[in-house]
Symmetry: none
Subunit: 128 residues, 4 copies
DNA sequence: GTGGTCTAGACCACA
DNA sequence: GTGGTCTAGACCACA
């Protein structure tokens, strides 16, 4: 079952947004696969130390996007075809990279500087 | 005078945070230089379609950080030494790049894929 | 918990300044001690008949000075070491006394007259 | 004619309030006597570096209190009988001293401490 | 026109 | 219920 161990909340964005993003990234990575069970709202709430309503909001929005199916009395499950996974992954990749490119350009950083900065940072956190 | 044409609000973060970030990026880029005038709270409010108080909050926080000086009845101005510019630029660069690296790693994207994605995106928006 | 019963607003200064001053005086007096709870923004707003945002502004500025700590969903609390209390007290004492001395001198009142005036007034309100 | 040399604005109160107070203190001190001419709004505005409207507001309020008489085309003049002077002086004295006593009491300062603090401060600024 | 303060009140995240 | 953000808009001090 999906765990939220890798999710560290940062306060810069609403928590429900961070939960949604975490699950989408897992789908994109393939670590969260079709049919996988999600922990209950209560469990996630306890693990992250946040309010159950906040988790509920994230789950509800994922369900509205069709990425989760909930049945009362049963665990919620991930519902993703291969196409959906590819689409989610493509959206996240592209949007993250575009955000960085836009920021770097606005700050007058060249492509070469950006690429070498990423090379350096990639190594730094290698063990993680 | 500084324009806010390039700023598009995204709803993922508080508006005043986005305004602060936009101005800091401009400082980092050097396109917003020491002594430059800022448009009035009202003008920014109208341009972005947000409340004047929201702009006021962003400007006030920038003033508390020492990046802006305001005087009643006169336009507010940017106040940045070279050292400050370098510091602001370094903070933004590093934090943006780290964010991307973390996201890509979690999605199981390799360094090489990330770098080539950025190469491609960089060209796409080249004329901008 | 801290009450605002003794605070009467006078219109000569911004309301948020008066709220800040009231709390600082309490800290100086030691009647507002480290860890003490502050009433909520809404409660103060209702008690003083001012807008919640005005109270919020005062609380936020006290938090920026490090005299208050706020956490969403929980009461705000006073955070003052002994050193801080002493410093706040010293600043208020000196500035208040200097204000009176300057006013009395400009009005041509002698030191002796001032001192006896204070003696008399001190007794008048003794029971308070 | 009345000069505003001794008035230094402090930003803690509205400027028009400080102007009113300055004139009332002069009346209380007897340095501003019945029939004395007041400098024009424009002159005061230039001397203090403030907006003419601000001076106008102060003069208008003093006129409403009956302490000034204005005639178009002629200089404004102070209008104070001895009784009025005594009353103004009494009000200022009492209100200033009461303000200090209240502040000191709220801060838990004893009468003796207050009196000696004033003694010390009175000497410090003696030459002024 | 510009900055600063304030009102009245909504909505979200959180305990 | 508590803190934080935001809207819509008024009024004052100032250039």
């Amino acid at each position: 079952m999906l765990s939220f161990d890798q999710l560290t909340l940062d306060g810069a964005q609403p928590i429900y947004v961070q939960i949604i993003r975490y699950i989408k990234q897992g789908i994109a990575a393939g670590t969260i696969a079709n049919g996988e069970e999600l922990p209950s709202r209560r469990a996630v709430s306890a693990l992250l130390g946040v309010n159950p309503n906040t988790v509920q909001k994230a789950y509800r929005m994922l369900e509205e996007e069709g990425l989760i199916q909930s049945h009362s009395g049963a665990k919620s499950r991930i519902v993703v075809s291969e196409e959906v996974q590819t689409k989610v992954r493509g959206q996240l990749l592209r949007s993250d990279a575009e955000t960085l490119v836009a920021a770097m350009k606005q700050m007058g950083v060249t492509k070469e500087e950006t690429l070498s900065l990423l090379e350096i940072l990639w190594k730094d956190g290698d063990t993680q």
